[in-house]
Amino acid sequence: MGELRLMKGNEVIAEAAIRCGCDGYFGYPITPQSEVMETLMAREPWDETGMVVLQAESEVASINMVYGAAGSGKKVMTSSSSPGISLMAEGISYIAGAELPCVIVNVQRGGPGLGTIQPSQADYFQSTKGGGHGDYKLIVLAPASVQEMNDFVELAFQLAFKYRNPAMILSDGAIGQMMEKVELSDFQPRLTAEEIKARYGSWATTGKTADRDYNIVTSLEMDSAKMEHNNLRFQEKYRTMEEEEVRYEMIECDDADYVLVAFGSSARICQKSVDIARAKGLKVGLLRPITLFPFPKKSIAELAKRVKGFLTVEMNAGQMIEDVQLAVGCSGNNVPVKHFGRMGGIIPTPGEVAEALEQKLIGG
């Protein structure tokens, strides 16, 4: 068993990065995720593992530092919160277009605009549908506990390198600021230049050697036919992710008449709502997507064949509900799909969700 600690989600992201052999972190302070860089700076990993930690002049600069370092084949990451992620959108699009691996952590806060510093899930569309310009997808992991903040750092890196694609950990202010018991991962050494090459091939800017042509890391292709070809390859990659990387959790869905669909901290709240509903004799279950892209649409379509309806619970005006509706539509059994959400940094309570379930779905 790994080391047990009581830590904030944000602190755990930092600790997990050091422990998984991350080569570099580039970031800019923004509430509610500043503890990530603060923890890294206090831990001084440059002495321990050689990991680089740099406070950039802006989120724009930090994502471009990630782009540069990732282009050299290194395991690098950044973290921010919603407004900062918007600033990074251009760089993320370049990283996706240049097919580089990296990890981006979004500890979401309420928007739009400067919004609020309280938790939100209103960046679902931005995270799962691309976010920047062009046809691209991020691998999106949604942790629902401080433990998953630990576990998903290494998982995100694994997926990012497997597909040479940016991976996002889509968290929120609640998980970032909350402390829970966490079992930390064991230390892994950082990879050497030779190990990186052996494991991932030699596409990176490691310096042109006599044994290969020189490498160009770019998203630019002026020949439209070639650019379309690139896009087709990206789409193929996203389809493979949809086949192979869907992750979700089902809680009490076996005999459920109604299913809540919620991710991240909303899913935690819904677990309690399930208990409340079950105590009233209502057969309610919970489906928690862990990967938001790829989305567990097949599992939802399967459930749709035997349940009476779905309620998505999100800290937004209704975003994931569109993916649930699509999945239900594919099932051929058009059961109702409703949404309950709070916005502006307000976290729904388990009681509210249970009431909404009865009013919007069961009673309606």
């Binding site: 047990l4 600690r5 009581l6 509430t31 509610p32 510093i117 309280q118 202010g173 609640a174 600021q177 909350m178 402390m179 829970e180 018991k181 901290s265 935690r268 709240i269 819904c270 677990q271 309690k272 709502s273 399930v274 208990d275 976290i347 309570t349 388990p350 009681g351 509210e352």
Partner: protein, 183 residues
């Protein structure tokens, strides 16, 4: 066993660290725990609150709308959280600065003169530990041994010399709990 607690008061009263020590004590005795703070500008001198859950099984929602125990340290928090105590639950408060004491008749109400006791002991900073002691007397959810370990874990090493003082404050809280109402 699951115990859902809200601790609420002014920023600077040690609300968050009381919660942290309690949560770490839970970890020390093998429990699942969550510690969920209010955060942001409101921490700077305004009200601060933290909900702590200790449980023998997996914890679902870290965000709660009702609590087994409310530890209330100022009037605003009394106004907000008295109604959030589950029927039969516990409300513990420090009467210092409270002008409208709790009025519910369906909950157990306790008092601790934390501000006064801490001042009498010559260290107002141990106020939160006095209150913690009182809570543990009312509801012994964690063992004193776990509290000592929790203090060791949550205080940076350079502050470990303060642990005996903190334990003394907790003892004082245990000794001075006053029962207002039992249901």
């Amino acid at each position: 066993m699951t115990e859902e607690i809200i601790i609420a008061g002014f920023g600077g009263q040690g609300v968050l660290s009381m919660g942290k020590i309690l949560a770490y004590s839970g970890v020390m005795q093998g429990q699942e725990v969550t510690w969920f703070p209010s955060y942001g500008p409101e921490m700077r001198g305004g009200t601060a609150n933290v909900s702590v859950i200790l449980s023998d099984s997996r914890i679902s929602s870290p965000i709660l709308h009702e609590f087994d125990t409310a530890i209330i340290l100022n009037q605003q928090s009394m106004n907000k959280f008295e109604k959030a105590v589950k029927p039969g639950g516990v409300l513990l408060y420090d009467p210092h600065g409270i002008v409208h004491p709790p009025t519910r008749t369906d909950i157990n109400i306790y008092k601790i003169e934390g501000t006064k006791i801490a001042a009498d002991m010559g260290n107002v900073k141990t106020f939160n530990m006095v209150v913690l002691g009182a809570y543990l007397k009312a509801k012994p959810v964690v063992k004193m041994e776990s509290i000592r370990k929790g203090l060791e874990k949550s205080l940076p090493e350079r502050h470990h010399k303060l642990i005996p003082l903190n334990l003394q404050a907790i003892e004082a809280g245990v000794d001075h709990l006053e029962v207002v109402q039992k249901v």
